[in-house]
């Protein structure tokens, strides 16, 4: 009993599988006064026993049922063999490979607390004799401790793996958020706001609001789906676009270049819908191209209604552009809004599966005369919450709102 308690103390410490198995075999050799001890773990997929710990031989796999170890696994009980070479179940090939001469063997299945066989422990060549009934009882107690420790080590490994995955996702989220603008450009006569609420830890959407030599850049990108793969696609699109524009490309050149590069690099069935606009903040003229992103809403203050624009071309990356349609030009008058919203808003479904649709957003824009861009963003989110009646968010929610102020406040 003392020996078992000592082993239990030893097995309580290691959480890493290899260290644990080394402890197990050392304890088995000591407690059962054996020349050798080994642990074989069950590979449930191939139904083989895999030799995990032995000093002189590695990477041995045997089918369940073969040899004394396999016999213990199949029977689910101790197999005590006083004279191995006299037992027809004994597999001599391991002795041949290791150069060791096996005299007697005690093989025990490792059964976890749910009654599942997870492997086999084997001790060989008891010093000064063969294994008896006391040894079997001792070995069974030891095997029970081993099986529990083994399960704990595996659960710990799974937890660590889960934590690693969580950390990787968190890193991807941080990278994605780091590409979003921290502050909106300060442009006299304009108010603007960007919102990004991913449905999962990482989203497939992005947006941008940046003052470039070519004008105020307004971007909303949406790669279908959410998670790491679309997040990477949309980041790729964003990075290519920024690079092209920084190198002085026109809207048309940047759009075509990014589309064609995406068509080359994105895997099949991956696309990015993207609105890319450049607003001349002096003439108040917005020029935009949109790859599959629509509807784009222009609220006209003087008419009290929205003009809807469709995409100018197919989703980016779907195929190379052979003939680019001309950019759409829109003049923003005082009080006008440009609202670019992802389909995660228009397609948000309530509990009955009804989508929000475009008119509800247009109605909100019509009542937003006195709102700031941040205020309107909050009202859109409020509308979604009210509409959803508790239905969960299935897609990323992203919007870019730009308002030309009715009057410019002198600073």
């Amino acid at each position: 009993m003392e020996a078992i308690l000592e082993v239990t103390r030893h097995l309580a410490a290691p959480f890493e599988l290899t260290a644990l198995l080394a402890e197990v075999t050392a304890a088995a050799r000591r407690v059962l006064r054996s020349e050798r001890a080994s642990v074989w773990l069950l590979d449930v997929v191939s139904e083989e026993l895999v030799l995990e710990v032995a000093s002189d031989i590695r990477h041995v796999r045997i089918p369940v049922g073969r040899g004394l170890v396999g016999a213990a696994a199949r029977a689910g009980r101790v197999v005590n063999t006083p004279d191995c070479y006299a037992d027809e179940r004994f597999d001599r090939s391991v002795d041949v490979q290791s150069g060791f001469h096996t005299r007697c063997s005690l093989a025990l299945p490792l059964i976890d607390h749910q009654g599942t066989m997870v492997g086999v422990m084997q001790v060989l060549n008891k010093r000064g004799g063969v294994y008896d009934a006391d040894d079997e009882a001792l070995a069974e107690a030891l095997a029970a401790q081993c099986a529990m420790a083994l399960q704990r080590a595996r659960m710990t490994a799974a937890l660590i793996e889960g934590e690693k995955l969580r950390q990787e996702l968190e890193l991807a989220r941080l990278v994605q958020h780091s590409t979003l603008p921290r502050h909106w450009p300060d442009v006299p006569g304009y108010d603007m706001h960007g919102t990004f609420m991913p449905a999962a830890q990482t989203g497939g959407d992005t947006y941008d609001l940046a003052l470039l030599p070519q004008g105020l850049l307004v971007v909303l990108g949406d790669a279908t789906g959410h998670g790491i793969a679309p997040a990477l696609s949309v980041l790729q699109m964003h990075a290519m676009l920024r690079t092209a524009l920084r190198l002085g490309a026109t809207l048309e050149a940047a759009f075509t270049q990014v589309n064609d590069q995406l068509a080359e690099v994105l895997p099949d069935s991956h696309f990015v819908t993207a609105f890319i606009g450049l607003l001349d903040v002096c003439s108040h003229r917005l020029r935009f191209l949109s790859g599959g992103q629509g509807p784009i809403l222009h609220f006209k203050a003087d008419q009290g209604r929205c003009e809807r624009y469709r995409a100018t071309s197919f989703p980016m990356g779907a195929m190379p552009i052979t003939r680019l349609r001309p950019a759409v030009e829109v003049d923003l008058a005082p009080g006008d809004w440009l609202a670019v919203l992802s389909d995660g808003i228009f397609e948000y479904e309530d509990r009955d599966g009804q989508a929000l649709g475009t008119p509800a957003v247009e109605q909100l824009l019509a009542q937003a005369g006195g709102d700031t861009a941040a205020g309107l963003s909050a009202r859109v989110l409020g509308l979604l919450r009210e509409f959803a009646r508790g239905a969960p968010q299935e897609d990323d929610i992203t919007m870019v709102l730009v308002k030309r102020l009715a009057t410019v406040t002198a600073l």
Partner: protein, 115 residues
């Protein structure tokens, strides 16, 4: 989401869809649809008259299949879309990737036209 596939004269495959082509709908027919649309000689007409709603994942399925058909010198033509679905397809400029026509007769005419 229901899907029927039939072979028409001239090696044209007709795929008839019924239901909501949203994320679960696209998931449920994704593999079957892609396989049917890529059957040689990749001349495919898709009946959307029974589709009441289309979302971005449904669109992705149509685009990737049309792209595959085009890569094999084939064509995919959509027909019979309801006003709502037609509007969404237009908003995303899908008509620049594959023809969208009103009737089956027009779709067959487009599918038979040499590529």
């Amino acid at each position: 989401m229901d899907m029927d596939v039939s072979s028409l004269e001239g090696g044209i495959t007709c795929i008839r869809l019924r239901g909501r082509l949203d994320a679960p709908g696209a998931d449920s027919i994704g593999v079957k649809f892609s396989a049917a649309a890529s059957m040689a000689p990749s001349r495919v007409v898709v009946d959307l008259s029974g589709v009441g709603f289309i979302a971005s994942l449904g669109m992705r399925l149509l685009i990737s299949s049309a792209r595959n058909a085009k890569a094999k010198n084939g064509v995919m033509v959509l027909f019979g879309a309801t006003t709502m679905v037609h509007d969404v397809l237009e908003q995303m400029a899908i008509d620049q990737i594959m023809p969208i026509v009103a009737s089956e007769a027009l779709a067959l005419e487009q599918a038979r036209a040499p590529g």
